[in-house]
Symmetry: C2
Subunit: 192 residues, 2 copies
Amino acid sequence: MELLKERICQDGKMREGNILKVDSFLNHQMDITMLQEIGKEFHRRFANDNVTKILTIESSGIGIAVIAAQYFGNIPVVFAKKTKSKNLDGDLYLSKVKSFTKGIEYDIQVSKRYVTEDDTVLLIDDFLAKGQALRGLIDIVNQSGAKLAGCGIVIEKGFQDGGKLLREQGVRVESLAIVDGIEEGNIIFRED
Amino acid sequence: MELLKERICQDGKMREGNILKVDSFLNHQMDITMLQEIGKEFHRRFANDNVTKILTIESSGIGIAVIAAQYFGNIPVVFAKKTKSKNLDGDLYLSKVKSFTKGIEYDIQVSKRYVTEDDTVLLIDDFLAKGQALRGLIDIVNQSGAKLAGCGIVIEKGFQDGGKLLREQGVRVESLAIVDGIEEGNIIFRED
């Protein structure tokens, strides 16, 4: 997605430890017009998959997923929670996830009421690096018996193997920008 | 907001400890059409306040804020983070918040780059009970020197004193539904 790549070049910053910072428009401050373009692009790629529900994970995925849902006819969005909350009760799907950015392991949780075998689920998240969060979400979709349409990712870190491994396992992963690395201060994107 | 009150009566559930569960449409699964109506109503109430930025807090506020921003001409949304993240660096505004639902205290964080004295800020959140999260966000707005337009809340628990105390201090709090309590299993809303 050219508009996104231009924005990453313009406003993204690489930090030590392979952290790509896009907090000016994607995951701390959010540029709504950019999120709309991202949502349209996800819809373009998954328009024929009869998606009934978008599943994401708190927190950075939520804004992206909610805007995208509008282009899928306002289908519901469910976000997996990372901590126990009094707002969640009843039967839950649980899956263990290791966080690359925070260096911890935690259970993600989704109420069984909101993802069922009648659903076709699109997973959406801001980043794909080692793919731990996405694996947790896929595990939950599998537990539910729902159909997995695929994964819509805004930025994939192509120099880590999460996306590669998932694709090898037959999961459809659509990343709007794949960053393969940096050369002389320039971000190198994989060709579409 | 009648549509919202009807939905709360239809799908909301009261649990022990004054927990009002609206996870079927607001803070776990999100009904996008309802979020759009909520966003339009926030805009109707704050249309003349020259709001330049919406500030919310992860996680449940994000979806509401992002959809609402569309009715304010796609102004940027910033969400305060509750945990240290490698995605945040540089100068941060910090404020201490006590969580009612989780029984813990934590620092909320906003990058100084994204809220400045040039901004007029609308705070948006899903719930207002004791008002701790909102106080933290107001503290951050005050630290930044930005102007505070007010607070847009989806559901206020009128039987707790957060909203009352904030209004007494001159903060404009617009709650789309104020729940005063339960009588014989029915949710009692405050009159508009």
